[in-house]
């Protein structure tokens, strides 16, 4: 019932919009009576597309997280059999124990789903769509149609990837990086049969989606800012999303080329990545290819990819911290500058994933230098966040808590990056649990924290209702404790040399000492997963039954999205787009709690 109310409100807003259009403000923005399909399915409204990305992302996140629960069960309790696994997965878990091939399929899908489908599409897809037009003051994206295509290519990629889960030979299982020759040779493992082809095709569709979206975000930010919205008056969210889009547009095509060459090697008999191979008793004719070439192509995207994941989170966290500290973000220009520096350096560090591939040590040393340089802009950001909350007047909304959690995790995970980026240390901890701990903390959980913060903060803008606070607090505290409990001890496993992607440690005398720890980690994983389901429940329940938003600007924020009606229609502002007169961070200035961007600068106002 409440759903219908929302629809009515939407229509109401669209209606007023229509009226104002006919009042002689016809800037070519046409609104026709929309059917359910054009409004909610093939929608060209950026806000609806953002929600589509978010809900698809949440669905994928649940699947990806569920996979991790399954393999954590096996890792934590190697001697126990779980009959329900056989019920769900059939021959993949005969006797209630994971088949090794299925284990590798699970970790591959867990990585692919979370890195690409959740933390790229689900995160920047959602918030770039929702926030860019609202915060720069545009009625929609530069090309709403392309924007719609972007979602539907993502949907297509999702369908293909999902269908690969149901193959007899299983989905791709060469790790989320899909290194050839393992991923190129059908004989090497069952997952390299049909599953790998579907993985490549799904990724190709995904890349198309990402490019369509990214070009649109860039075009919108550069061309469609409202009057007075200079680049230096953009909220940091938009800056974060802007650099994310640039990174994506420049690096995803390289992955596409890498994937296409892999497809050729698999199906057309080419030898881009294959040479001197004898597999399962067959001598292959391919000579002269280089498997390392793939790694270069992959990581040329793969490394910027981690910044594609983290920059939107950084932007949102900056915004949320400032709003809830009632204090301007400290060092706005330094924040933008460090985002820019990260964006440039992101392209120059990819080979630090390859220190032990036999790469020329001199080349390795160059990548050590460039990699550790990234710590400087990262440090600037951390110190600026700390100074932002210093002497603030902090409100701990669930969004703010997640933002603080983000900074804590970003520090913890970022510092171990200094370990791994140094090739000398990397020799020892490369491909061990240390790496798992590092990247899960710094880009996995952190980015999720940024995303949660964004969802809690902008939920009122998305749906005109609040999420339940108590559930939000429970969600935060359990996830925060869980994140450290799961990943902190893994550093020790890594220092003990325990390799990643091992199903069973019993044959090993060096690595089998962590049985209790593995149990603890698995139990915590299950608890965190349960709490995440609680979040998902809270999300969907609140869409329909949440407490209604009654004021236009519930957080007392300065940015433009809070000048729109509570339930904005297509076009966002019923009247003219507001003009901007100042930067978005005038909190606590001249004794006033906050000054909206739309308020003209008073003659007597202090300048900063």
């Amino acid at each position: 019932m409440d759903n219908e109310q929302i629809i009515h409100v939407h229509e109401g807003a669209a209606g007023t919009h229509e009226v104002i259009h006919t009042n002689g403000h016809g800037d070519g923005h046409h609104h026709h009576k929309q059917s359910f399909i054009t409004k909610y399915i093939f929608s060209q409204d950026h806000k609806v597309i953002g929600k589509q990305f978010l809900i698809t992302g949440i669905t994928w996140a649940m699947i990806g997280a569920f996979f991790s629960v399954i393999f954590r069960l096996q890792l934590g309790f190697p001697d126990t059999s779980f009959p329900f696994l056989e019920t769900i997965f059939g021959h993949w878990a005969r006797g209630g124990k994971l088949d090794p091939e299925f284990y590798y399929a699970l970790i591959t899908m867990h990585g692919t789903i979370l890195v690409f489908f959740v933390l790229t599409a689900g995160l920047s897809g959602t918030f770039a769509n929702l926030l860019i037009p609202l915060q720069v003051g545009a009625r929609d994206m530069a090309s709403p149609f392309m924007n719609m295509l972007s979602y539907w290519f993502f949907f297509l990629a999702s369908v293909i990837m999902m269908s690969s889960l149901f193959l007899q030979t299983g989905p791709a299982s060469g790790g989320w990086t899909m290194y050839p020759p393992l991923s190129a040779l059908r004989d090497a493992q069952p997952g390299s049969k049909m599953g790998a082809d579907l993985w490549i095709v799904a990724m190709a569709m995904f890349i198309v989606s990402s490019l369509l979206g990214g070009l649109n975000y860039i075009a919108t930010i550069l061309n469609m800012r409202t009057k007075g919205m200079t680049m230096t008056r953009l909220p940091l969210t938009v800056w974060g999303l802007f650099f994310t889009a640039i990174l994506g547009v420049l690096s995803f095509p390289v992955l596409l080329s890498g994937a296409i060459l892999l497809l050729f090697d698999r199906n057309l008999g080419t030898s881009f990545y294959l040479s001197d191979i004898y597999v399962k008793g067959h001598i292959l004719p391919n000579e002269g290819g280089s498997p390392i070439l793939y790694q270069h192509l992959f990581w040329f995207l793969g490394h910027p990819e981690v910044y594609i994941i983290i920059l939107p989170a950084m932007g949102m966290v900056s915004e949320i911290m400032s709003v809830n500290s009632r204090k301007p973000i400290f060092g706005y220009m330094a924040m933008v500058g460090s985002l820019f520096a990260i964006c440039i350096l992101a392209f120059l560090v990819w080979a630090h994933h390859m220190f032990v591939t036999g790469m020329n040590p001199f080349l390795g040393s160059v990548f050590v230098l460039l990699t550790l340089l990234i710590a400087i802009p990262s440090a600037i950001k951390v110190f600026n966040w700390l100074t932002t909350i210093w002497r603030g007047n902090i409100r701990f909304t669930p969004a703010m808590l997640f933002a603080i959690g983000f900074v804590s995790l970003f520090i913890s995970g970022g510092l171990t990056g200094i370990w791994l980026g140094n090739s000398t240390i990397d020799i020892h901890v490369h491909d061990t649990y240390f790496v798992i701990a590092h990247f899960h903390i710094v880009m996995g959980v952190s980015a999720f924290f940024g995303m949660f913060a964004g969802v809690y903060h902008w939920f009122p803008k998305m749906f005109g209702r609040y999420m339940n606070n108590t559930l939000g607090y429970i969600h935060f505290w359990v996830t925060m404790c869980g994140a450290y409990l799961i990943f902190w001890p893994m550093h020790y496993m890594g220092l003990a040399g325990v390799p990643r992607r091992y199903l069973d440690f019993t044959p090993w005398t060096s690595f089998n000492k962590f049985g209790d720890l593995n149990k603890m980690i698995s139990v915590v994983t299950i608890i965190v997963f349960a709490v995440s389901l609680l979040f998902v429940f809270n999300f969907f329940y609140s869409i329909f039954k949440g407490r209604k938003v009654r004021t236009q600007n519930p957080w007392g924020a300065n940015t433009l999205e809070w000048t729109t009606p509570i339930n904005p229609g297509h076009g966002n502002w019923p009247g003219d787009i507001p003009e901007v007169h100042r930067w978005p961070y005038d909190y606590g200035k001249d004794g006033r709690d906050h000054i909206m961007q739309t308020e003209p600068v008073n003659p007597g106002e202090t300048t900063h």
């Binding site: 090794p100 393992l182 040779l185 280089s290 498997p291 301007p328 370990w419 000398t424 902190w488 005398t509």
Partner: protein, 357 residues
């Protein structure tokens, strides 16, 4: 059955939590939303402080519990450099970690919303920003300096007297080739691989250097105190020759040989005496290579020169094994016999081309 009960219990738990959350929302409306918000603010600020204290204690506790489980001191000279580098980096990053985490949670607690407290308008300060740009830059320069100093030592040329051993990974085993008395590894070509004819590595028998090369599987022996250089390759997919106790690691890439060298410091016997009889220098595959990846185990035995010589002398050269009995038992019939003579001629072009490379 128990699964059903677990699911039922989980659902009930969900329901209870949800009802409490829902009820708290109604209570907040009754109490006044502003008051509830302030209460929540206080509670969460306090919890952040608790999290800091408990978290730092947890860091210490985790270290106490697990420090005994990480590896014994490095068993190679290179590994000692890596361990030194780890200590240097740990010292710096740990200090930064503690300071920044304390500041983050302390500020959160200290500057929680209070009646009459005004946020301080502090948009930027160039001096501060220069300070925290320059200090990390200097620190990182130091780390890069140390790191590269060790890196070039570790990845530099192996000493001339190093024992050369070739390593070949394949799903899911390790094979090793010793050059024999002449000190030279014979040429090989992957199309010569024929496991049925005892040529697992594809040695080219026409190359005289191959006559005395010895091939062993699973276990490799090296001499304590003598540099050893591994030439690493793979037959099928990428593997990684991982030696956690020596802190060394190098990918095995099909078609592109890689190398690694180090000097082992302690014999296996010494280590067993110190760390228990089940101690072994294990070789792990550290690059995912397929369903059997986690079982791709090998062993390095470090021993004295004398023991090593005795062990190696017992091994027959692969050439002799391959040529002693032209047809191994499982290969029956004439085709194998005839090809054993004709094959070198048919594949003559390719191998010579390879030899000339």
């Amino acid at each position: 059955m128990s699964t059903t009960w677990i699911i039922v219990a989980a659902l009930l738990g969900f329901l209870v939590v949800f009802q409490i959350a829902k009820a708290s929302e109604y209570v907040s409306i009754l109490k006044g939303e502003e008051k509830t918000r302030k209460d929540n603010n206080r509670i969460n600020a306090f919890l952040l402080l608790v999290f800091l204290v408990v978290g730092l204690f947890g860091v210490w506790y985790c270290n106490e519990r697990l420090k005994g489980k990480i590896l014994p001191p490095s068993a190679s000279d290179h590994g000692e450099k890596i361990d030194t580098m780890i200590w240097i980096t740990l010292a710096i990053t740990f200090v930064v970690f503690v300071i920044t985490q304390i500041l983050l949670f302390w500020f959160s607690y200290r500057y929680q919303e209070r009646e009459g407290q005004k946020a301080y308008y502090f948009p930027h300060n160039n001096k501060l920003e220069v300070i925290w740009t320059v200090i990390p830059a200097i620190t990182l320069t130091v780390l890069v300096g140390f790191g590269l100093f060790y890196w070039f030592q570790i990845t530099g040329e192996a000493p001339k007297n190093a024992q050369v051993i070739e390593v070949t990974g394949s799903q899911f085993k390790w094979e090793f080739r010793y050059p024999g008395a002449d000190g030279k590894l014979g040429k090989k070509y992957y199309k010569q691989i024929n496991e049925d004819k005892s040529n697992p590595l594809g040695q080219i028998w026409e190359d005289p250097d191959n006559r005395d090369d010895k091939v062993v599987s699973g276990e490799v022996h090296v001499v304590v105190g003598k540099p050893v250089k591994f030439i690493i390759g793979s037959k099928d997919v990428i593997h990684d020759f991982g030696l956690a106790h020596f802190r060394m690691k190098m990918d095995a890439v099909p078609g592109i040989p890689t190398t690694m060298w180090f000097t082992p410091k302690y014999t296996t016997r010494e280590m067993k005496a110190k760390y228990g009889d089940d101690f072994n220098y294990e070789i792990s595959c550290d690059q995912m290579c397929g369903p059997g990846h986690y079982g791709m185990r090998g062993v390095i035995v470090v021993e004295s020169e004398a023991e090593f010589k005795v062990w190696l002398a017992q091994k027959q050269s692969q050439y002799d094994i391959a040529h002693a009995s032209p047809t191994p038992a499982n290969q029956s019939g004439s085709p194998a016999d005839s090809t054993s003579n004709s094959k070198p001629q048919t594949t003559n072009n390719k191998p010579t081309a390879f030899l000339n490379k």
